[in-house]
Amino acid sequence: MKSLRAWLMRVAGMFSREQRRAGFDLELQNHIELQVEENLRAGMGAFEARRAALMKLGGLEKTRQAYSERGTVPFLETLMQDLRFAGRQLRKNPGFSVLAVLMLMVGVAASTAIFAFVDAALLKPLPYPKPDRLVEVTESVSFMPRANLSYLDYLDWKRMNREFQSMEAFRPTAYLLKTASGTEPVPGEMVSDGFFRTLGVAPLLGRDFYAGEDLPSGPMSVMLSFPAWQKYYGGRKSVVGEAVSLNGIPYTIVGVMPKTFEFAPRNNAEFWTALHATDSCSLRRSCHNLTGIARLNDGVSVATARANIITIAEELEREYPVTNRGQGVSVMSLSEAIVGDIRPILLTLLAGAGLLLLIACVNVSSLLLVRSESRKREIAVRGALGASPWRLKRQFITEGLILALIGSGLGMAVAYGLARVLVQLVSRDMIIHMPYLEGMGLNLRVFGFIMTVFLIAAVLFSLTPMSRLSSVEMREGLTEGARGSSGRGWRRLGANLVILELAVAVVLLVCAGLLGKSFYHLLHVDLNFEPQHLATAMVVLPDAVYAKDAQIVAVRREIVRRVGNLPGVTSASATTVIPTSCNCNTDWIRFVGRPYDGKHIEVNQRDVSAGYFTTLQTKLVRGRFFIEDEDAGKPLVAIINKAFAKKYFGNEDPVGKRMGDTELTPKSIKEIVGVVDDLREASLDAEIVPAVYYPIDQNTDSQFALVVRSKQDVNTLLPVLAPTIHAIDPGVGVVEEETMTQYISDSQSAYLHRSSAWMVTGFAGLALLLSTLGLYGVIAYSVSQREREIGVRMALGAQRSAVYRLILGEAGRLAGWGIAAGVVCSVGAAMLLRSLLFGVQAWDAGTLATVALLLGTSAMFAAYVPARRAASISPQEALRSE
């Protein structure tokens, strides 16, 4: 208590310093007078009496010092002095201060915003208890490393495995929800009964599915997502136990999930129903439509679990050779399954932002070097007047801290806004699969990142000028001070910093160039169809109404016909999978009359309507297209793509050849009637694989996609699609109306390439700016230090052109070294970037040359301004100033 009071009084003492000092001076003066009088009485002379009095006191200054040290907090007091001084220094040189703070801010803002992304996506664990125990479990086939799982295989894996606490399955779906205003398609998810328990999430309201609720005999029950609960039921508590009609079938609402619940693979699902495996697909081991998730037993690694499942898969393969031959296994951590695709992009961006931060720091450091050079005299004088080396160093630490604090503080604020903007830039479709991004913000880890950057910057900014002020230097500062010569050491260090900066800028520019080129290649990849003027939409038929194949065929033909008759529409058609979506929906085939080794021939399979290829404008290579009424009553036919023909028929003519399923069951035999061009089915950067097309009317499904070509602006077509279809049957669901070009540019591969290209380009642009500024700063300073030398040269008859040559030559040498080092480093960096590159090599000569030219030009531009100033130096004035 006493010591706290004492300390508070000392702190208070700091603020009444002047008053206290005056009081104490009076007290001291009094003291001395009294002592002098006493000494005089003792018979001393006047001078002697005063001298003795002062000696007895122990020195006037020393007493004052002891008093004020005791009276205030000396450390805080000198800190305040240092702060005031540093503030004065920064204000005195606003150009320097603003530039330094802005540069640091840019670096901190960029790196923090990206770090917040990385944190949200890669560091923040899944929002479930013990997230590292969760794995995704699926099957695996040749061109789908993570394929779907068949229901019967899922049951066997779940039963036979020894490493999982539990294993569950889920399948995305769409439901037609009957509401007061009509029928509305809503996203849903079918899950096995223990799904939420495996994740470790309990419902907010009501109950979870009970064990066995997902059996075919189980009740039709559904759980609501929090948003669906709010949207359709206004958050009513009484909703549990109510009935809801999905696809025309009554379900009972058993529970509501909490608001915080998220499931990245399908975060927009509104209705979670228990998986009732009654559909035809679930009864076939060869039909794959599920994804598995499992919780590992404690202490079990992903690899062990995978090995266990592989053994089981092999056993199943022996038991069911027809359906399970060659069915591989994929077991990976759930977080890897969710964020694996974007990790390389995020790490690239983080590296880019880090390099930008490096440039910014180097830049500020070299500015500080320049300044410490011109402050050498001031420091030397302070040193000579008795400031201790520690005190001088503290001054630099204080200034470094202030700079770093303001820079990173502003950077943090900008990063906060920037992160918001970045999230806005992510399309809604993407956010559904990246719900973790929505919660992105300045959490403890992000704050820790900023603190780290701040500390490193503060250390760097204090050490840089300090390194220039060894005691030897300080003495030099006094002796040669007036000469204003720039130390050779400084020029070497400053020059090295500039080279480093330019090299880093080259790396960033080259990476940006390569990513930009990749993106360009990606968008100009051969689609083998004409995406302009195409509209697409998904159509969902209510199963309860359209139970028979003939009904589906009839309503689909009617839908295609009515849409095809809309004004401006030239043709309309249907398919099961929209082009450019994925290498998925595959079929196993076997050729009639060819030996069979049991290996699956796996190909993309799409069911399309007669006008499909004409609507897309995909070329027919051989044979014919499908014809109008090719339905189940007609002989089964197939059209293959060029990749298929090349791989399985070589130079043979495939038209007329026959194929069927792996057992060649008679009713599966189809005749190939045509070959079409390699229509791009999968993402833009995926390879073209063999594909087979069947007439959609021979292979019915209650969900299909419409593809419509219009002569007019296709955007005007989108809003009329749903009303046109609802005129036929208001119970039909129409979703995801969009243009084909929009669909392509929103696709994940295009999005990731585009965003990484743009962001790295942004970093590279800033890097170019910062490094040019850095070079300018160094050259300009060097010129200002050499004014006298240049003046002498000119007085001795040097031409202006010679001065230009001198300055530009120096800049050219620095830029040359920087660019050369950067080119070497960037080839290395681009090798690391390979997984993101598409259609361009890491050592793309054009990009390297362009970057070298760009940076060389801007370096010369940066040097030109100070060179002109040097050339305009008047020899007389330069000499007179001596």
């Binding site: 006493k2 009071r5 004492a6 009084m9 000392r10 009081g23 104490f24 009076l26 007290e27 001291l28 009094n30 003291h31 007078e33 009294l34 002592q35 009088e37 006493e38 007895k56 006191l57 122990g58 020195g59 020393k62 007493t63 002891a66 008093y67 040290e69 005791r70 009276g71």
Partner: protein, 116 residues
């Protein structure tokens, strides 16, 4: 009188100041310093300046109070007086010193007996 003057033991100056104020009443800094010098018989090595650090310290701890007044020679001077808390502290310190001095005396006496 000793050849060399005694160094002041840690903490003793504060007690000397308190004792001086307790017995002499209010005093200014010079008065305190002089009084201690006189009582010590000039044996203590005392820079009078160190008195002031002690005075600030005691003031911060609430042991003494200070007030501006007029000195004998009619000048403005700062007078210090001991507070209630100062008296209490002094009692504790005095008891402590007495005990310490007693112990030291006994220890030294014991050495003299066993010496020869």
């Amino acid at each position: 009188m000793a050849e060399t003057k005694l160094d002041l033991l840690q903490g003793t100056l504060d007690l000397m100041v308190l004792q001086t104020l307790a017995t002499m009443g209010d005093l200014h800094g010079y008065g305190i310093a002089r009084r201690i010098e006189q009582v010590s018989g000039e044996e203590i090595l005392l820079n009078q300046g160190t008195i002031y650090a002690a005075l600030v310290r005691l003031q911060q701890r609430g042991r003494i109070a200070a007030e501006w007044g007029t000195s004998d020679n009619n000048r403005k001077a700062k007078f210090y007086s001991i507070t209630k808390s100062g008296h209490k502290q002094m009692a504790i310190d005095v008891a402590y010193w007495r005990r310490l001095a007693g112990v030291m005396g006994r220890v030294l006496a014991m050495q003299a007996e066993g010496g020869e």
